[in-house]
Symmetry: C2
Subunit: 362 residues, 2 copies
C-alpha cells in the first residue's frame, strides 16, 4: 500500500492517540514524510505476513525527550545514517524497515527512512503504543536482541552499541542520546522476517491510520469523534476502550530530566466526573488516579484528548486550561502476558500498583 | 626489551610522577601486569623507531575517574575486548599496542593488553603526562583521528564511537564510561607506525621506568631522591624541573563529578616557603597558585610528592596532614606549540591564566 497525504494526516492523529502522550509530536514526523513525497519518493507499507522468513528488517526510530524534539527538528538523514551503519555492521542490506513503536513521531520516522532508501515499511511495531525505554519491546520480550544498535545525530556522529542485554543497551544508548542533545536517531532490533511475524504487534500502522480516519470522518459527519472511536476499537486488537475522565487541566508539572520528559498533570472533573484526576508521565502517560485510586495503568493506553476537537494531546503539549477527555484502552493480549508485564508493567516504572486491566477496573 | 618485576615497580612510581596526580593509581596497574608475568606472559616494550611504517598500532587505556578505579578494579580483559573490537572494525590485526598517556595506570594497561595478546608495546604515548580529556593527545594535535573508538566494561558491553572529531569522541564516550560505572576501558587512535613516529612523544615508558629507578636508587644510596630526580631530568625531553613548594596539606576538596575527579588541595608552607599553595585538580593537577599568583600551569607537570618518601601522590590519595613537596617540570617542546596549547593549554580547562612555562615563572 502506497501512503497518500490524507493517510499521513490520519496516521499523525492515530499515532498520537496510540502514543498515549509520548513518542514525540507526530506533526513533525508528518511534515518529514510529506517532504519526501513532494520530492517524488514513495512510502510503501507492507503487511508483515508478506515478508520472506529470511529477509532482514531493520527498525528505525527517534529516541529521547519529546520536549527536545519540538525544538530540535530532524533532517531525516539521521535515522538513515543509523540504518546504513547497521547494514554495514551486519554485512547485509535491509529488505525493509519498521517502527519500534507506533506512538507519535516514531510511527513516521521509518516512513521517512523507507521513502529515502526505497525500502518498504512493515506494518507492525514492537510496543503497540509508545514506551520511554528501548527494552520495552515485544521484540525483546520474545527473544530478539536490540543490539547491535546504531545511534546517530545531525552532525554525523554515530555510536554503535553492542550490549549484553536490552536493558544495558537502553542504559548506554540513552547516555549517548542525551549528549547528542536530548534526542537522537536509531536503528536496532534488526531481525528476520520470521521473527517479525513471531514477535511484532501486527498492522499497527494501518490501525493508527484507521483511528485517525474514524476521528476525521466523525468530525466531517458531525458525530462525536470519541464515541465513534470507542465504537471502532472492538473490531481491532485493542478490543476495549472507554472514557475514564473529563475535565479541565488545572496543573502541569513537566521537566526534561535524564533524557526523558517527566511530569504530572492534574485535571479537575466536569460533571458527571467529580474530584480530580492525576496523571503521571514519563514521556508517556503511565497511570491515572482519582483520589489515589487507579483508573488506568500502564501498559493499557491512557490518552488525553481535546474534548472539543478530539485531538490527542502529547505530553509536551499539555497546557493549563485545556478541556480534555481521558480515554483508556486495553492493549493486545501479547502485551499483557507475564513476560510482557515483566518488561513494561507498572513495576518497571517504579509504580507501586500492580497491573490491573482497564476491563477489570470498570 | 622484556620488562621485569623491578622495572614494573619503577614504572609505577615514574608513571605516578608523570601523571601529575591523574591517570589512576599505578599500583593497581602494576599488580595487573605482575599477574600476567606470573602466568607466563611476556611484556615486550619496543622502540617506536623499530616500527614498520605501515604497521598497525592500536593504543589502549582506561578512561574515567581515578576515584572510581580504586574501588572498581579491572580484570584486564576489558581493554583487550576494546582492542579486539577495533581490530574487527578495521578488518586488520594490530601489530602493537601503545599507551595514550604515560600517567598512572594508563602506562600499564597497554602492558597488560600486550602481554595477554602477545603484542609488543610501543615505548611512546600521546600525552607525555596524563590529561583528563581524550582529545588532549599529540596524536590528535598532529592529525590522527581518535575514532573509531571502542569502549568496553567488565560485563561484555561495548560501544563503538565514530565521531566527527576528537572532542565529540570524548564527549560521547565519556557518557558511556559514566554509565559503565565511572570508568571503562578503551582502544582508540589506531594509527600506522609512520604516524606513531610522527605524532607520539617517544620513549616515555622507559623514561617513566628511569624516573622510578632514579628515585629508588637515591633512596638506596641514602641521597635525596627529589634532588636526584631534578638532576636527572636535564638529560631527558623534560629538560627542566624544580621544587615550587613544600608544606603540609591542610585541606582537600574532592568530588567525583561528570565522570571526573574534581577538586582542590591547599598546602600550608614550611620554611623557606611561606603562605599557602592552592592546587586545582581535574583528575590531574592543573594549576598551582600562591596568593593567586601562578607558580606552574598545565601542560607543564605539577607533581605532589611525599616529602619523606619522595613518592608521587595521585589525586585520589591526597589526605589532610601529608607533608608534601611540589615539583614542577617542563614538558617536551612538541607539547608547547600553539597547536598543542590550543588542545590542552590552560584555556581548555576553563582557566583564565595564559600558559607560562615553568622556566619563565622561575
Amino acid at each position: 500500500m502506497k501512503l497518500n497525504f490524507e493517510q499521513l494526516g490520519d496516521l499523525a492523529v492515530g499515532a498520537a492517540f496510540l502514543g498515549t502522550g509520548g513518542g514525540g509530536d507526530p506533526y513533525v514526523g508528518r511534515l518529514m514524510v510529506q517532504q519526501c513525497i513532494h520530492e517524488g519518493c514513495e512510502v510503501e507499507v507492507i503487511d508483515p505476513q508478506s515478508l520472506d522468513d529470511d529477509s532482514l528488517v531493520i527498525p528505525t526510530a527517534m529516541m529521547g525527550a519529546p520536549t527536545v524534539l519540538v525544538e530540535k527538528i530532524p533532517s531525516g538523514q539521521e535515522a538513515v545514517a543509523s540504518l546504513k551503519r547497521l547494514e554495514k555492521r551486519l554485512g547485509r542490506k535491509a529488505d525493509a524497515t519498521m517502527p519500534i513503536e507506533i506512538g507519535g513521531i516514531n510511527s513516521t520516522i521509518p516512513l521517512v527512512v523507507g521513502a529515502r532508501l526505497g525500502l518498504p515499511i512493515v506494518d507492525a511495531d514492537g510496543m503497540g503504543r509508545a514506551f520511554p525505554f528501548l527494552e520495552m519491546e515485544t521484540f525483546g520480550v520474545y527473544g530478539i536482541s536490540g543490539s547491535p544498535m546504531a545511534v546517530s545525530n545531525e552532525w554525523g556522529d554515530c555510536a554503535l552499541i553492542e550490549a549484553v542485554d536490552n536493558r544495558q543497551m537502553e542504559w548506554l544508548s540513552r547516555a549517548v542520546a542525551i549528549r547528542m542533545g536530548g534526542c537522537a536517531y536509531i536503528a536496532e532490533y534488526a531481525m528476520s522476517g520470521a521473527d517479525v511475524k513471531r514477535t511484532a504487534i501486527p498492522n499497527t500502522l494501518t490501525l493508527a491510520i484507521r483511528i485517525g480516519e474514524v476521528l476525521r470522518k466523525a468530525h466531517e459527519d458531525h458525530q462525536n469523534p470519541i464515541e465513534a472511536l470507542l465504537g471502532f476499537l472492538p473490531s481491532t486488537l485493542y478490543r476495549y476502550g472507554r472514557v475514564i475522565f473529563k475535565g479541565k487541566i488545572v496543573d502541569v508539572m513537566r521537566e526534561t530530566k535524564a533524557g526523558f520528559t517527566m511530569g504530572r498533570a492534574r485535571i479537575d472533573g466536569i460533571a458527571p466526573f467529580s474530584s480530580s484526576m492525576d496523571i503521571e508521565i514519563q514521556n508517556e502517560n503511565l497511570v491515572a488516579r482519582v483520589n489515589g485510586e487507579v483508573k488506568a495503568i500502564v501498559p493499557d493506553l491512557i490518552s488525553i484528548m481535546n474534548t472539543e476537537t478530539a485531538e490527542p494531546i502529547t505530553s509536551e503539549n499539555l497546557r493549563y486550561g485545556q478541556r480534555v477527555t481521558v480515554v483508556a484502552v486495553s492493549v493486545p493480549d501479547i502485551m499483557r502476558t507475564p513476560e510482557a508485564l515483566a518488561v513494561f508493567g507498572p513495576a518497571c516504572f517504579g509504580l507501586q500498583e500492580p497491573f490491573t486491566s482497564i476491563e477489570e477496573l470498570a
